[in-house]
């Protein structure tokens, strides 16, 4: 049976529920993402795209609505099971890289595999392969503070790919980088998309970056105002 990777139905997120300052961030989002898509979620600051990302990444639960990830209703899962989802199904790439300090690149890449309980030998081997893919093999034993922004982000991408996640979830991955390095990171995403067939959800406020993706979903005031649907990549 055909099943989308992400299937969101009428997701609503409210904060300060029952208080005078109650705030509705997402006002009813429905979104399907198919396997192998390269999707951009675009929106202004405060549009709710980061909250949506947290939902997709199983870091947060919706107040209302349902979210199926690979057919699993995440609303029925407890904290431990959500940890497992984040570990196995989601690969996060953050704007500020979020590498763990005082821990070298190789160990950073190993970390998701460590939490997955993969034996040390095996995960070192895989981490080295991943660093090879992002062209960071020669920096495996460097600490994060010895790496440039672009290098950090490449390590972060390798780390995100560690457990073969269903989705690579990138939140403004080039936001903290200069345009040249940003370009390199975007090229890396394209490479992973083409060569590994990774499903990528890119959250950005930049329309130019969004134009490179197969599909653009635009969010404003907590709801989807446009969705291009799957189309041929403009860059092709």
């Amino acid at each position: 049976m055909h099943e989308p990777v992400i299937s969101m139905r009428n997701i609503i997120k409210r904060y300060y529920i029952g208080k005078p300052n109650e705030l509705q961030i997402l006002t009813g989002i429905s979104l399907d993402v198919e396997k192998g898509e390269f999707l951009a979620i675009v929106g202004q600051s405060g549009s709710g795209k980061s909250t949506l990302m947290n939902m997709i990444g199983a870091l947060d639960r919706p107040t209302e609505g349902s979210y199926f990830l690979n057919g699993v209703d995440t609303g029925t899962l407890d904290d431990t099971e959500l940890s497992r989802i984040r570990n196995q199904e989601i690969g996060f790439v953050f704007q500020t890289f979020n590498l763990i300090s005082r821990t070298n690149a190789l160990k950073n890449v190993e970390m998701p595999m460590m939490y997955a309980g993969i034996p040390r030998k095996e995960r070192v081997k895989r981490a080295k392969e991943l660093l090879e893919i992002v062209d960071m093999s020669d920096r495996a034993d460097h600490q994060p503070n010895e790496l440039s922004g672009g290098q950090k982000q490449r390590v972060a991408i390798a780390r995100a790919m560690a457990n073969h996640p269903s989705i690579l979830l990138a939140d403004e991955p080039t936001g903290a980088l200069d345009s040249k390095t940003g370009r390199m990171i975007m090229d890396l995403f394209h490479k992973l998309h083409k060569e590994e067939g990774t499903t990528i959800v890119l959250i950005t406020h930049s329309p130019e970056l969004a134009q490179e993706c197969d599909r653009i979903v635009t969010i404003s005031d907590g709801s989807i105002i446009s969705d291009t649907g799957v189309r041929q990549n403009a860059a092709d």
Binding site: N54, G57, L59, D60, D79, T80, S83, R84, I85, R86, N87, Q88, F92, F94, N98, L99, I100, S101, R102, T103, M111, P112, M114, Y115, A116, G117, P119, R120, R159, N163
Partner: protein, 435 residues
């Protein structure tokens, strides 16, 4: 596997803040080191007492006392013990006949001084001690001691000191098997064969003023009691006191009961008398128990400082998790379960306490040893004559060390749990956004 990772993480984290880690450990270090120091002093006192006690003689014997009962406060009703009421040789021979396999009687009588002429013809004095049997103690050198067979067969055997050997064998020949003629003050003389030698205790020399010539020193020689009684036409003097050494393969408690039963029966028709059987070891055990109680009591007080140390650890762990909120958020985003985060911080807390504990143990042992050395120096200074007898032995208490290690770990778990749990329960989004 996870544990090794956690340990590595904890080490990295502590290494990044060495000074802070050390200051955090300080409470634990002080707590553990004081407990270890106190227990080291306690066990050292016990060890010293035991050593001193053992040096003063064997301890595998019962003292059997005859005591007189009297009622009320009227001391005038108290008659001196008559000879026939005391332990007689007959009574002791009956005891030996009945239970002789279970013990060795330590019966002795002094026979005054005797003159001896050495191989060079010089005369010197010895004091004669008749023994029914004699144990080999730590000062035994060669050959054998006087035993019950020597007595039964009326043998003329003699057991002498190393000083006697150097007084007697001027030609340096082997003393064992040589014949010694003893001439008693009463004029009776007889020849005895040397069967064994023993070493005089080192403090023996101090009995004599410095410069006393070797030939003027008088040592005691041991000969069979019964042989000596026969030779001097004497009867064994009645006694109020008897020493009985239990045989190592026999249960002392059973022997005690047998002795009590035997003497109760002997004194059945003399209700004024009572026989008491005691072991010197009992007193030692009593003193040791008292020292133990005191040590434990002071240790518990010292252990209170461990609570203060533990609160310090908890405090710094709370600071640490606040500082590392972002890291916790990242780990959670990468799929760390709450249990994994909790374990990471508990391991860190345990490591702080364990390192503190080990430092504390080392300092405690060092401190205890230092106090022991000072005490030794003081004793030597104040009581030079007894310095050898009061051999101060400093010994750390092994159980206390093991308990200290265990306690450090428990402190780490106890005071680390709350901060670690707080870290584990952080909301991943809030943690990720934390700056």
């Amino acid at each position: 596997m996870q544990l090794i990772e956690n340990l590595r993480l904890a080490f990295t984290s502590l290494a990044a803040n060495k000074m802070r880690a050390l200051l955090t450990m300080l409470g634990i270090i002080i707590g553990i080191s004081s407990v270890i120091m106190i227990t080291t002093i306690g066990t050292s006192i016990q060890k010293t007492l035991t050593n001193t006690f053992n040096q003063m003689g064997e301890s595998n014997f019962f003292d059997v006392y005859l005591i007189q009962n009297y009622e009320g406060d009227d001391y005038s009703a108290y008659d001196a013990m008559s000879d026939e009421d005391m332990f007689t040789r007959d009574m002791i021979d009956r005891l030996i006949a009945e239970y002789g396999d279970h013990f060795t009687p330590r019966l002795s009588q002094s026979f005054g001084n005797a003159k001896v002429r050495n191989t060079d013809g010089q005369e010197f004095s010895v004091s004669i001690e008749g023994e029914l049997s004699q144990p080999k103690d730590s000062t035994h050198l060669r050959g054998r001691t006087i035993n019950q067979r020597d007595n039964q067969e009326g043998m003329y055997t003699i057991y002498v000191s190393d000083l006697f050997v150097s007084q007697y064998c001027k030609d340096g020949s082997d003393p064992i098997g040589q014949t010694v003629e003893l001439t008693l003050d009463s004029g009776i003389s007889a020849e005895f064969v040397i069967v064994g030698t023993f070493q005089l205790p080192s403090f023996y020399d101090r009995i004599y003023p410095p410069g006393t010539s070797e030939m003027d020193k008088v040592t005691s020689v041991t000969v069979p009691l019964d042989t000596m009684l026969k030779l001097t036409h004497q009867e064994q003097e009645p006694m109020m006191y008897l020493t009985v050494a239990w045989n190592t393969d026999y249960d002392p408690e059973m022997l005690k009961q047998e002795l009590q039963d035997f003497f109760d029966k002997e004194y059945e028709d003399k209700p004024d008398y009572e026989v008491m059987i005691e072991n010197e070891q009992v007193y030692l055990e009593m003193i040791n128990t008292i020292i133990n109680v005191i040590t434990i009591a002071i240790s518990v007080i010292a252990a209170i400082s461990l609570i203060v140390g533990g609160v310090g650890v908890m405090n710094i762990m709370l600071v640490s998790i606040t500082e590392r909120t972002k890291e916790i958020g990242i780990r959670k985003a990468l799929g760390a379960q709450n249990a994994a985060i909790r374990m990471q911080f508990i391991v860190e807390s345990i490591l702080i306490c364990l390192i503190g504990g080990v430092i504390g143990i080392l300092l405690g042992i060092g401190g205890g040893m230092m106090i022991g050395t000072v005490a030794k120096a003081l004793v030597t200074q104040i009581y030079p004559d007894y310095a050898e007898l009061i051999a101060i032995t400093v010994q750390p208490s092994i159980p206390a060390i093991l308990i200290a290690v265990l306690f450090s770990v428990l402190t780490g778990v106890f005071f680390g749990y709350y901060p670690a749990n707080k870290a584990a329960k952080m909301n991943p989004i809030d943690a990720l956004r934390y700056d």
